[in-house]
């Protein structure tokens, strides 16, 4: 890593003197490092490549602020973070602009969303097919109205374990009901 740093500094010094080949090599190496950095932060590949190109342009524009007396990578990544923030600011502003207010949404569900094929009472009968602990958890949560945290406190389990057990129970019930 240290030898890469020294190499990049040396390339940049030569680039500042007008060495086109050194500059091309420097930008190529910078693009490789930037691609790895940006693609971890921007999922869309085309957008990530656009941001890499913006950063390379910014490096070109700001190269007079680097004099070769300090490491190249922190200077380059400072510019990269700046341009990444610009991209994210514009990206999220666009998403906000394109968002449709809920009251204007035209999606109309094709059935009543509160309609339930099964009631709690009808499901209760299926609990006996569940392991005891899962049945107890669902009974406490749905019949007696306790939260997962309260159930955990009552039966001496961790809250996360209660949630996992409830999730497994729902999965099992769903499979059973789908098979009916």
């Amino acid at each position: 890593m240290a030898s890469t740093d020294i190499r990049l500094e040396s390339l940049m010094k030569r680039a500042l003197e007008g060495d086109e080949r050194a500059y091309g090599e420097l930008l190529g190496e910078s693009a490789r490092l930037l691609r790895a950095y940006i693609s971890r932060r921007i999922g869309v590949r085309a957008d990530a490549e656009d941001v890499v190109q913006e950063i390379l342009l910014s490096i070109h524009k700001a190269r007079h602020t680097y004099d070769g007396t300090r490491p190249y990578a922190p200077w380059m990544f400072a510019i990269a973070r700046y341009r990444l923030q610009d991209y994210l600011r514009i990206h999220y502003a666009d998403r906000l602009r394109q968002a449709v207010p809920l009251e204007e949404a035209e999606i109309i569900p094709d059935r009543h969303v509160t309609f339930q094929d099964n009631t709690y009472e009808s499901l209760k009968g299926e609990f006996k097919h569940l392991p005891d602990k899962q049945a107890m958890i669902l009974t406490l949560m749905h019949e007696q109205g306790y939260t997962a945290r309260e159930v955990a406190g009552r039966i001496g389990m961790k809250e996360s374990a209660v949630k996992v057990a409830a999730h497994r129970a729902y999965k099992q019930l769903r499979r059973k009901l789908a098979g009916q």
Binding site: A15, L16, E17, G18, D19, E20, R21, Y23, G24, L27, G28, A31, E49, D50, V52, Q53, L56, L57, S58, H60, K61, A62, R63, H64, T65, Y66, D67, G68, R70, P71, P74, W75, A78, I79, R81, Y82
Partner: protein, 211 residues
């Protein structure tokens, strides 16, 4: 957008030699031009006749020295902030803080002592603020132009410190001409407005220093 390789090839062809200005020289250049400007203004306004005597007062001397420290440290910070990586010396960006603390302490001490002689000359208020604005004008323009020619990634902060540096330098120079020593007057019309200059600098920086 073009392929990255094509962009690299194009940028390489544009690789003219570039001379990076040393940050020390940016600060020195700003100081030299600003001090020359302030010297001309002071020649016009005149230095207070009792300056030598007042400098023998420890609090007054400390006020002048700490304000000079604020101006110099802010100038250093403004130059550092004009680089994307702060020249990898982040401490320079925070350099004004200890001097601001010292300056604030001196002002509190002066208020506590309350040994200010009665105001000399005619009563004046907002005129001092206008004068300090005039004294700060060229240093502020020069520092902002310098920063704009660089590549700051902290536009608001850089602008704030640029105007703090310029206004504290202007306030320092004007203090050498101002005949009043009333701490209340100093605070109201000379020193508290420096905060306002800083806030204006934030707005100017965000508008003008982005690249």
């Amino acid at each position: 957008m073009m392929q990255t390789d094509q962009l690299i090839a194009q940028l390489s062809r544009d690789a003219k030699p570039v001379r990076a200005l040393a940050s020390g020289w940016l600060l020195v250049r700003w100081l030299i031009v600003s001090c020359a400007y302030l010297a001309v203004l002071l020649a016009f306004y005149g230095i207070r006749p009792d300056l030598a005597g007042r400098l023998r007062s420890p609090l007054f001397a400390l006020e002048i020295l700490s304000l000079a420290g604020v101006a110099l440290a802010s100038g250093l910070s403004a130059v550092a902030l004009s680089y994307p990586d702060l020249r990898q010396k982040a401490w320079q960006a925070y350099a004004p803080l200890p001097f601001l603390a010292l300056f604030a302490g001196v002002l509190v001490a002066e208020w506590w002592v309350d040994a200010s002689p009665p105001e000399m000359g005619a009563h004046h208020t907002y005129q001092c603020l206008l004068c300090i604005t005039l004294f700060s004008l060229l240093p502020a323009i020069l520092m902002l132009l310098q920063q704009r020619a660089q590549a700051t990634i902290h536009a608001g902060w850089a602008g704030a410190v640029a105007l703090l540096a310029s206004s504290s330098l202007g306030a320092l120079a004007f203090r050498l001409s101002e005949k009043s020593d009333s701490i209340a007057h100093m605070l109201a019309w000379h020193y508290l407005p420096l905060i306002g200059f800083g806030l204006v600098g934030v707005m100017l920086g965000r508008k003008w220093l982005k690249w």
